[in-house]
């Protein structure tokens, strides 16, 4: 397990707990009392950390190398019965965007999401979770399939952005994202979107227009990453912490500003500390939201979805 610098107190307690376990196993000394004490200290340290996290620390947690990625969620939530679907039917199969069918407790869903790689080789294959136009077009093809068969859609968002490459421009990255946003606005089936890691800009929104848009507790969602924002507005890479504050990109700020529908709590210390617990929470949340949406007439679903996004923005007009 990798630790971020601000996770140092947790690392220390993890190590003490591991030592206590090892000592108990080696020498047979009963360490139960001190383990109980250490676990309590750990819980306290995690609660303290949670209460004090800065926006930049949330951004770091959203990128934690131990954090589960899209496929891990889908595999766990569907009990290993996920069937992946490939290809946009025009150019190729984008490995940075995955999609396919599975069921949670007997309810089938069409799943879509950006996939980051779990090691160096896979990170390259997955293009660091940065989809090309064909990824967005694959996602749309599958979402239209779900609509055709009247089944709900779940999108798991985790991307540092849509890929800014040469071929991406040639093949219409802007058009692909734009088309998805428009078509998602009028899908006649329930659409549930969840930011599970990084929600960077148009690359995130390209699979992010839903009846429910939720953020996990330690994720970020904005128009630009704090690093790029720092480099553009402050003309230096050194203001990423300040930019993270200014962008109001945390789940709490996004909810407060009415730009998302809710926050999903992560296990103590973050999703990377207990992926299994995180999968269970998310499964339950998806089913809860689906039950709220499934009996709404499709016209109402679409009208309310469009109305929700059309209400976003802050401006004023003088009486004329």
């Amino acid at each position: 397990m990798d630790y971020l610098d601000f996770e140092a107190p947790i690392r220390e307690l993890d190590e003490q707990i591991a030592k206590a376990h090892a000592l108990q196993a080696e020498s047979g000394v009963d360490m139960k009392d001190s383990l109980v004490e250490l676990e309590a200290k750990l819980a306290e340290a995690q609660a303290e950390l949670k209460a004090s996290l800065s926006p930049w620390q949330r951004v770091q947690l959203s990128r934690h190398t131990g954090r589960p990625y899209t496929m891990a969620y889908i595999e766990a939530m569907t009990g290993g019965e996920f069937i992946e679907m490939h290809g946009d039917r025009h150019v190729k199969d984008d490995k940075a965007m995955v999609g396919g069918w599975g069921a949670i407790e007997g309810e089938s869903f069409l799943f879509i999401g950006q996939q980051k790689g779990v090691n160096t080789k896979m990170r390259q294959l997955r293009n660091f979770g940065m989809a090309n136009p064909e990824g967005y077009r694959k996602a749309l093809r599958l979402m239209k399939q779900a609509e055709k068969f009247g089944r709900p859609i779940v999108t798991l968002i985790d991307t540092p952005g849509a890929f800014p490459g040469l071929e991406a421009e040639e093949r219409g990255q802007g058009e692909a994202i734009a088309r998805n946003i428009l078509e998602m606005a009028r899908l006649k089936v329930p659409v549930i979107c969840i930011i599970i890691g990084e929600g960077a800009s148009g690359g995130a929104l390209g699979i992010g227009v839903g009846d429910r848009v939720m953020m996990l507790e330690n994720t970020w969602y904005s128009v630009i990453s704090p690093e790029s924002c720092s480099s553009i507005l402050w003309r230096s890479w050194d203001f990423k912490e300040t930019a993270a504050e200014a962008l109001k990109l945390t789940a709490n700020d996004m909810l407060k500003n009415g730009l998302i529908d809710g926050i999903i709590e992560e296990p103590a210390g973050g999703a990377h500390r207990d992926p299994e617990g995180m999968f269970q929470t998310l499964s339950a949340e998806i089913l809860r939201m689906y039950r709220e949406l499934k009996d709404l007439p499709s016209d109402q679903l679409v009208a309310e979805r469009i109305e929700k996004f059309c209400g976003m923005g802050v401006y004023e007009e003088s009486a004329s």
């Binding site: 849509a162 890929f163 800014p164 490459g165 040469l166 991406a168 421009e169 040639e170 093949r171 219409g172 990255q173 802007g174 058009e175 994202i177 734009a178 088309r179 946003i181 428009l182 078509e183 606005a185 009028r186 800009s201 148009g202 929104l205 390209g206 992010g208 227009v209 969602y221 904005s222 128009v223 630009i224 924002c229 553009i232 507005l233 402050w234 930019a243 200014a246 962008l247 109001k248 990109l249 996004m254 500003n257 730009l259 979805r305 469009i306 996004f309 059309c310 976003m312 923005g313 802050v314 401006y315 004023e316 007009e317 003088s318 004329s320």
Partner: protein, 291 residues
């Protein structure tokens, strides 16, 4: 195809704002590309295009309105809308100060002006971006004014024309800016369902979140010659691929060759070509006197 959208309004559209074509400061205009000098008056009469080399100088909403609407007559929509700085954003300057200073300097309220009037006798609603207002960046006001212009098109059953010219999102409005992509695209879905024509004109430059939302969603997407059009800016693409970009990368001509524009149109033919397309899709009679 229904032509409901052509049904003329009862004398509803009044045209009180007779705008004179603005003459640039001074009596002469030097072309930034070929350096040929013409009188300021000729420059305006040539719709701010160099008569020698064809360079299309960047112009803002009011200049487009002056030659697209018949007789330069139009009614502006939602003219007083301004941003409220929802995040109290501050980088090297306060966003609220930046807004005020830009409003004073440009005489504009924000980066978008919208209006309605007739174009070769066809009633239309046009939303056009003002690049000189914080790089034509898209914040809440831009998104809301586009949404309201589309509402106007829907209510009056008239075609919608969008003239884009923008560096993309307004970072100082962060996620509020991002969600304007969803707002405008969702409204365009309604316009599409109502089968009302939507023309998207892309001008120099059109990049970022604007390209990834309304600018690429026209029934026809068209562009002025030589405009920079892309999702990622050329500097970012260059850094990504680690080598020089091919000649002509992300120009109108490049984007058309790759299949994302219906045609490229010189500014002097813009009004005629847009009217012509509207006449064809609506199966309308040709005007008695072509303009």
């Amino acid at each position: 195809m229904s032509t409901d959208w052509f049904h003329r309004q009862e004398a509803g559209i009044t045209t009180p704002t007779q705008e004179k074509k603005e003459t640039p400061d001074g009596l002469w205009h030097g072309c930034p590309k070929c350096k040929v000098i013409v009188s300021a008056e000729d420059h305006v009469n040539n719709v701010w295009v160099c008569g020698n080399c064809g360079f299309h100088n960047g112009i803002d909403a009011k200049e487009y309105f002056s030659f697209l609407f018949d007789g330069g007559n139009y009614t502006e929509l939602n003219p007083t809308m301004v941003s409220k700085d929802p995040l109290q954003f501050e980088d090297t300057k306060k966003y609220s100060d930046r807004l005020k200073a830009t409003q004073v300097k440009t005489g504009l309220q924000d980066a978008l002006t919208s209006a309605t009037g007739e174009m070769n006798g066809i009633p239309v609603a046009i939303a056009a971006m003002n690049f000189k207002f914080i790089g034509g960046s898209m914040g809440s006001v831009v998104g809301e004014k586009i949404a309201r212009t589309i509402d106007y098109s829907l209510k009056h059953n008239i075609p919608f024309i969008m003239i884009s010219k923008s560096g993309g999102a307004r970072m100082m409005e962060a996620a509020f800016s991002l969600m304007q992509m969803a707002k405008t695209s969702a409204k365009l879905a309604l316009l599409d369902e109502a089968k009302i024509p939507y023309i998207s004109l892309l001008t120099d430059p059109t990049t970022g979140g604007v390209t990834a939302s309304y600018a690429m969603l026209g029934d026809i997407n068209i562009a002025e010659p030589g405009a920079l059009i892309g999702f990622a800016g050329p500097r970012v693409v260059k850094e990504t691929i680690g080598k020089d970009l091919p000649d002509g990368f992300q120009t109108s001509e490049f984007v058309k060759e790759h299949g994302f524009l219906d045609f490229i149109v010189e500014r002097k033919h813009l009004k005629a070509r847009m009217s012509q397309w509207l006449r064809f899709v609506g199966n309308l009679p040709a005007p008695v006197k072509a303009e």
